[in-house]
Amino acid sequence: MKETGPIAVHTISVIVDNEAGVLARVIGLFSGRGYNIESLTVSTVDTSHETSRITIVTSGTRMVIEQIKAQLDRLVPVHKVADLTIEGDFVSRDLALVKVAGVGEKRVEALRLAEAFRAQVVDASRDSFVFELTGAANKLDAFVDLMSELGLVEVARTGAVALSRGQSGL
């Protein structure tokens, strides 16, 4: 269908059987049908390793988002699909590792800013740091942006993991 209406970003949680190929099914669905993936994370989340939780950040018009959820829901190994964005408040966190190289004043400034952002130093050498930072995606964006002037070498990020607020779960 032709795109009409505003495009919104949605965070979708998907509980799937932890079996071979399930991630390929989900990713294949997105690429095959032309949906966006802004980020995707996956890991087993129960002690018996029977199910995994996939968190997908995607964007589209209201009809496209509804299609994405319906298409996910009809995959056989998918147990549950929840659109956190429309089902109430939720928390979303991203983890970044940020490598910064430099000496002198820039190095001091990087460390000072890292403290302000409550980033951990997980690796240090005389002329570099690796910071570990957790937070909402925009906080990580801001930190990386600041580091770009202070000797940013490279960044690794997980993409969002998210849960709804309050007592109930999927």
Partner: protein
């Protein structure tokens, strides 16, 4: 044979404690046992290195008949024909690598038309997977987007569970093809035959019964309509013969007109006055205009395909749209729906009928006289009219005469894809479900001949006809060998116009008549070709001899191919041109306007 058997309750057989339980069996033996226990009587297949253990087990038993096709694509189409006519899943067995890749077109076809298929593919031994071994292909990777689900079986003990689960997944919810990839060493390895006990998939539970509030809302919306219409699709056929009966009952008690998609033909009797014919690109004038002007529409088991809607902006602009579908993803995909109902078609119709009676909605319904008057005026257009000829056989005429001679014979008709397919949908009349086999979603040329084989295997005594075209026929003509081997009395009716007719029609309408590569050059002599396979060959070109030829074809006790040479340059009308709305249909004799713009030209 096939027609009387049904899939047995899996819980009733093969469960732990069964006589053979716990005796070690090879994976191949387990496959055969599970298939027999599930009520399978026929496999369509082609052997090869990676399925030799399974073929060896087939050799040793006689409960399941194996039909040897000549190409794996045809195995899947034959299984589709078997499934569509019997209501049971079709079973396919092919080897690894090229066997599996050849099956992909058939699997995609079954996926698009929601046909339940179980396709067992051989795979190289487990330790060789990923090594680019001989005849190795990543079958589960290749078939992931063209199956409802697929499995690579790495544990021999799981073979029975996987097969039971595959049958459950293929046949429940929206049906579809399921691939089971079986490494050769799993077929050889022995393990105790044991079922884990749970017969269904662990979590997959499609919703069968619709939401009551939504169904009531739908019933009231239909009762309030002054210009209602029922738009039914292939989902009715998939829901079983009862769904067709319920649809007919509901349509008759409400007096509403009924139109059908290509896939849904036969669900409502074509001979019924309330039937408006097929809708869509080559649908009837009355069906498309009624869809455009209706004020309430019940779409049931239909998915608003682009072939049905034409230009979305102009599709039935003023109507309240109710959609009943078992697949949530079919709702609001192409067209925004006002009242969605997630349900099996039979279940939803049963409730709609009950609500209609309980609430006496018939009393509340406005009179439909004016609506039917309007429909009759559209009907008077006689949109399927064509100019007949004494010199050549008009394709429409050929099908009218074919219909005349098969009337009342409960014939099963398959088609290939193209003009002949659309003419068959327009001119052949289906009063019952499961008698019409066609490739609707994928539009697979070469579907019809093997599909006819599958139907004939399921119903050996029924008249089974492949309405074909000269180009489509050549896409799976190797199956003449299968027909000959099993002496299947199929009738092959080739409407030979020496063109890929639909391609030629579009080139004439949209590309100033530049007939780029659409002429069927170097056609074989079809009559001699049939005879080379030991099949009776016939041909007819003179309109005066058409009736005799058709009768001879039908009455011949055995397989026969009739090369029916029809008018070469005839277009299929009515036609909703690319990028146009339903009420902008062209009829035979209309001045053809070229597509309005590039966007219209981009419509497939």
């Amino acid at each position: 044979m096939a027609s009387t058997k049904t899939i047995q309750d899996p819980a009733a057989t093969g469960a732990p404690g069964d006589e053979a339980a716990n005796a070690p069996m090879s994976g191949a033996q387990m496959i055969l046992k599970a298939l027999v226990d599930l009520g399978v009587d026929t496999i369509f297949g082609y052997p090869g290195g990676a399925v030799l253990p399974i073929y060896d087990e087939i050799f040793k038993q006689d409960k399941i008949q194996h039909i040897l096709v000549r190409h794996e694509q045809a195995a899947v189409h034959a299984a589709e024909g078997y499934a569509r006519t019997t209501g049971k899943p079709g079973v396919v067995l092919v080897t690894s690598g090229p066997g599996a890749t050849n099956a992909v077109t058939g699997l995609t076809d079954a996926m698009l038309d929601s046909i339940p298929i179980i396709c067992i593919t051989g795979q190289v031994a487990r330790h060789l997977i990923g090594n680019d071994a001989f005849q190795e292909a990543d079958t589960v990777g290749i078939t992931r987007p063209c199956t409802k689900h697929n499995y690579l079986v790495k544990d021999t003990a799981l073979v029975p569970d996987v097969i039971y689960e595959a049958f459950y997944v293929a046949t429940n919810g929206r049906p579809g093809p399921v691939v089971i990839d079986m490494p050769k060493d799993v077929q050889i390895e022995k393990a105790p035959y044991a079922r884990s006990g749970h017969r269904e998939h662990r979590t997959y539970r499609p919703q069968v019964d619709g939401d009551e509030a939504a169904l009531r809302k739908a019933a009231y919306a239909l009762a309030n309509g002054a210009r209602p219409i029922i738009y039914s699709g292939g989902g009715i056929i998939n829901a079983g013969p009862e769904a067709s009966e319920l649809l007919t009952e509901f349509a008759r008690m409400t007096g509403m007109p009924v139109t059908s998609t290509l896939m849904g033909l036969g669900a409502f009797p074509a001979s019924d006055h309330q039937f408006l014919g097929m809708l869509g690109m080559h649908g009837t004038w009355e069906a498309n205009h009624a869809m455009h002007d209706c004020d309430v529409m019940l779409a049931i088991g239909a998915r608003f395909d682009d072939r049905v809607t034409g230009q979305i902006d102009g599709f039935s602009p003023g109507s309240t749209k109710i959609q009943v579908d078992i697949d949530l993803s079919s709702i609001n995909k192409n067209v925004a729906v006002d009242i969605p109902v997630i349900a099996d078609a039979a279940s939803a119709l049963r409730r709609l009928i009950a609500i209609w009676k309980e609430e006496k909605l018939g009393d509340k319904q406005p009179p439909l006289v004016a609506w039917w008057d309007q429909i009759e005026r559209w009907r008077m257009k006689d949109c399927l009219a064509y100019a007949d000829s004494d010199e050549m056989i008009m394709p429409q005429k050929a099908l009218e005469r074919l219909q005349h001679y098969i009337d009342g014979k409960e014939a099963i008709i398959a088609t290939e894809v193209g003009q002949h397919q659309m003419w068959a949908a327009q001119f052949l009349k289906f009063d019952k479900p499961n008698h019409w086999l066609t490739s609707g979603g994928l539009g697979t040329m070469g579907y019809g001949l093997p599909a006819t084989i599958g139907a004939q295997i399921a119903f050996p005594d029924r008249l089974c006809i492949d309405v074909s075209g000269d180009a489509s026929f050549q896409m799976n003509l190797q199956e003449l060998g299968t027909i000959s081997q099993y002496q299947l009395p199929v009738k092959i009716f080739i409407m030979n116009n020496e063109y890929m007719g639909m391609v030629r029609q579009w080139q004439d309408l949209s590309y100033d008549g530049r007939r780029s590569h659409s002429y069927s050059d170097s056609l074989p002599d079809f009559e001699k070709l049939a005879e080379a396979y030991g099949i009776k060959g016939m041909s007819v070109e003179d309109p005066a001899k058409l009736d005799d030829a058709i009768q001879e074809m039908i009455n011949h006790d055995g397989p026969v191919l009739l090369d029916c040479r029809v008018a070469k340059i005839e277009n299929c009308f009515p036609m909703v041109p690319a990028g146009a709305a339903h009420n902008e249909m062209l009829l035979a004799g209309d001045v053809i306007a070229k597509p309005k713009d590039d966007e219209a030209l981009a419509v497939v």
